[in-house]
Amino acid sequence: MNFRTFTQRIQRMAIALSLVLVATSVLAAPATYRLHVDGLACPFCAYGIEKKLNAIEGVELLETNIKEGTVIVTMKDGAALDKATAKKAVKEAGFTLNGFERVAPGDGQRDGAHKQ
């Protein structure tokens, strides 16, 4: 093996390692979801929705934005939330789930975070 081949292998290994590290960090980030709740129009109502969502196993953090009518749900590591479960929780609080999407880590609102 000449010196050039050696440096090319080192470069490829470095790139591969970087990709693995990036992929690992993304996969390790907790799953975060944005819920669009119709009917949410007062603070007293927000509590009921948060209480129901908080009762779901694996929920780590809730961030409600009453103006946008959204709740950002951050799950514990390794936990996931499905739409049917979220819809049932919102329904039990007396409101209607109108949207459910997974969002990239850190894409939620930070104001009003409600640590569970």
């Binding site: 669009h36 119709d38 009917g39 949410l40 129009a41 007062c42 603070p43 007293f44 109502c45 927000a46 509590y47 009921g48 929705i49 948060e50 209480k51 129901k52 961030e63 409600t64 934005n65 009453i66 103006k67 946008e68 009518g69 329904k91 039990e92 609080a93 007396g94 409101f95 209607t96 109108n98 609102q109 930070r110 104001d111 009003g112």
Partner: protein, 303 residues
């Protein structure tokens, strides 16, 4: 009787102080709302009240003061069906002049008549930042209050008793339209009073309406800030004449219209509220007492 003055006044002052944060509104203060109680959740409401009625056209120159606290516990059996229990504690005092010209006071205090009712949401429309609901309700007033209380002068007159002794069904329908900026509630109700101890209070028909407008914060940001609402409510109450041993009492029954300004501070976990009910129209029969005003102040807690 006076011991309830302090907390009631303190709450009024507290609400007034909060209003001073800006100019100075989520559910009505003088009647119910159609907003949901989550499945398995509880809402507790405590309301302190003071009512004064005087302006007696009769020579007795009567003055009636009522101090009380009304405890309400709501439970969400489902997201559509809510069950409520209401228990009042009342302190009533009647001052009057006897035919002999002497001034006398008759009073009583204790638990009043409790009520149980169920409310079911029959129509619900949720949209972003707003909702509309219609919910009929049906209930029963129970004879839990003392209806045979006596003092040194004998048995207290029936209207002064803490309880009616009767089982009285009631029902109605309440509708709520709520947005992020304001909320409108309206309620129609009817209570069929039944006879007990030879006395039957006249049936009651009531129409209530409430507007709550968000005064602070003026602009909504992120998160869930507390809302301060300005409240204006109106209550139209018609009560038929009472019957004593089957005969109409000519000095009873009325049609009254109240206009009530108030404040309400709403957070996620609790609500603080105060309102003053002012009579605008009072069409009374015979020598019935006129209402001067009433003050209600209290809190609600989500749990």
């Amino acid at each position: 009787m006076r011991h309830l003055h302090i907390p009631a006044l303190a709450l009024v002052l507290l609400a007034a102080a909060i209003s001073g944060l800006r100019e100075a509104h989520a559910a009505p203060e003088t009647f119910n709302t159609a907003l949901p109680v989550g499945r398995g959740d509880f809402v507790f409401r405590e309301q302190f009240l003071y009512i004064k009625a005087s302006d007696d056209p009769s020579p007795a120159d009567r003055t009636l003061e009522v101090l009380g606290s009304i405890s309400v516990l709501g439970y969400g059996a489902t997201s559509d069906l809510a069950l409520f229990g209401v228990l009042p504690y009342l302190d009533k005092e009647l001052d009057l002049t006897t035919p002999g010209g002497q001034r006398m006071t008759r009073s009583t205090n204790g638990i009043g008549d409790a009520s149980l009712f169920a409310r079911y949401t029959v129509f619900q429309k949720d949209l972003p930042g707003r909702n509309f609901r219609i919910a009929p309700f049906l209930g029963l007033k129970l004879p839990t209050g003392d209806d045979d209380d006596r003092d040194g002068f004998g048995r207290l007159p029936q209207p002064l008793q803490l309880g009616s002794g009767s089982w009285d069904p009631f029902g109605g329908v309440v509708a709520t339209y709520q947005t992020l900026d304001y909320q409108v509630d309206a309620q129609l109700s009817y209570k069929a009073n039944t006879k007990a101890n030879g006395f039957e209070f006249g049936d009651e028909f009531q129409f209530d309406a409430s507007l709550q407008y968000r005064l602070w914060p003026r602009e909504l940001g992120a998160g869930v800030p507390g809302f301060l609402y300005g409240v204006i409510e109106t209550n139209l109450l018609h009560q038929a004449k009472n019957k004593i041993s089957g005969t109409n009492d000519p000095n009873s029954g009325s049609t009254k219209l109240f206009l009530s300004p108030g404040l309400q501070y709403v957070t996620k976990r609790w609500i603080l509220e105060a309102i003053v009910q002012l009579p605008v129209v009072q069409d009374l029969n015979g020598m019935a007492l006129k209402d001067d005003y009433s003050v209600r102040a209290g809190f609600r807690v989500n749990f």
